[in-house]
Amino acid sequence: MGKVVLMQGNEACVEGALVAGMRLFAGYPITPSTEIAEISAVRLPQEGGKFIQMEDEIASMACAIGGSVAGVKSMTATSGPGFSLKQENLGYAALAEIPLVVVDVQRMGPSTGMPTSPSQGDMMMARWGTHGDHPVIALCPSSVKETYDLIIRAFNLSERYRTPVLFMMDEIIGHLREGMELPELEEVEVIDRKTVKYPEPKRLPYHIKKGKLVPEMAPFGMGQRYNMTGLIHDESGFPTNSNEEAEKLIDRLMHKVSDNYADIVKCEQVGMDDADVAIFCYGGTMRAASSAMDEARKAGIKCGIFRPITIWPFPEKELLEAAKHVKRIIVAEHNYGQMVLEVERVVKDACRIDFLGRYNGTVITPDDLLAKIREEK
């Protein structure tokens, strides 16, 4: 058994990222994500990596993309207002297929809002924050240990699918300290970047070799000269005005994620075997849900929990299946109602859907959930 250590969520995010191979972090401080920058500043140079504090979040995002283009696993972290600013370049990374991890430790908005209060108000922004259509992978941890493990998975997914991965934390987990067992490093699966090993003349940088998911990447400087752009491009990496190529590109980007739903989408279902009522929740809200479920079961209510770990793509298959076996789903989230819209869309009329939203800076408690569970309309 690995050593158990006391760690904060934000710290676990950095330590996990280091294990996953992060060697460049570009950021700009903002509560409640700041510790991620601060710990990176301490830890990265110790591991031969680099931390840089950029002039703002736009630059941080751009810098992290640059690092990745040069072959180094890169990360950036922020909170709501900064996440808004990163969106334009997030679209760039999605289109140019640049692996990197973007952490958003959500805080209460809109605008400056309540900077130190917990929230899950950026869930839809994670999906729709930038212009145009592009694929999104986003993950949500609900404990310190899961933060550690899941950030490694975030890096792995970003490398496997050559796409930015969003790591949607909340203040509840980011600022929580709890014990976690450190894994044996040998046992951690780390996906290294699939790179071109030697320069190939006339190689098409966005051509996918047979049996591969995505084009292999050639880090700048390794000898394979090519072009990257945020314009619609063909396999050569050069801009094209061809409508066929445009469609092909967007289709390919979308499908590399949607076709691999089973690999990417994970959710946790607790007590769902016999549940009558399910709590749908994610991130830090899970902690109240699990206490509430225990209480409810003690009171004889068959309560279960459906928790997306991958929040984008939305786990619609699993949710629809689950919805068919319960009478009610209570969607609990720390916002005015975001993922509940997806639940409504997916579940349709399969079961009743209730919503418990919290948007006043406090945390949903087990009692809040119990009251909702007991509520009969």
Partner: protein, 181 residues
């Protein structure tokens, strides 16, 4: 050990958060589960400040203290604010300089000269949080002295180890002969 919901309150600069972190660390070292968190806010800048640790041998679901089993307050302001919130059975530790507010329901109150001890016996007011940690461990029996000492050493800045160990020991001593009011 049954579930403890520990809340510490004081003013911004008193090292309240560190104290809860050390208690959480002690719990981990003692093989228990813990969840530590704090209220962030503009209060951190001068005003009153609160930090919490849950300790339990069970898995911890909800991570926030809901019904404190233990409260410590180091300033009158924070005692006035958080004191009335706790229930009858909560054990309350206050600095000897403070007086319990009228509307406090808690019955078990221990007053110890934490600040004074830090200032005069240890010689540095900043060590009050570690003195307090010593008292708290004694009152709640979280772990043994050795483990707690280890937890303290894991979290204080290098160069201050000696001083803090002294503070911890003074804390132990303080709590030894304590008396509930």
């Amino acid at each position: 050990m049954s579930r403890q919901e520990i809340r510490l309150a004081g003013s911004g600069g008193q090292g309240i958060i560190l104290a809860t972190v050390i208690l959480a660390e002690a719990a981990i070292q003692a093989g228990m589960n813990t969840a530590q968190s704090q209220a962030y806010g503009p209060e951190a800048r001068g005003g009153s400040c609160k930090a919490e640790t849950l300790i339990s041998d069970q898995t911890i679901g909800f991570t926030k203290v809901q019904n404190p089993t233990f409260l410590m307050a180091l300033t009158q302001k924070s005692l006035d604010q958080y004191g009335p919130e706790v229930s009858e059975n909560c054990l309350v530790l206050i600095d000897s300089g403070l007086s319990a507010p009228q509307d406090m329901k808690a019955k078990r109150i221990v007053a110890l000269p934490i600040l004074d001890t830090a200032r005069t016996v240890v010689g540095k007011i900043q060590t009050a949080n570690i003195v307090a940690v010593g008292c708290i461990n004694d009152l709640l029996g979280i772990t043994d002295a050795k483990t707690l000492e280890k937890a303290v050493l894991m979290h204080v800045p290098s160069g201050t180890e000696q001083l803090n160990i002294k503070a911890l020991e003074e804390g132990f001593k303080l709590a030894e002969g304590h008396e509930e009011k």
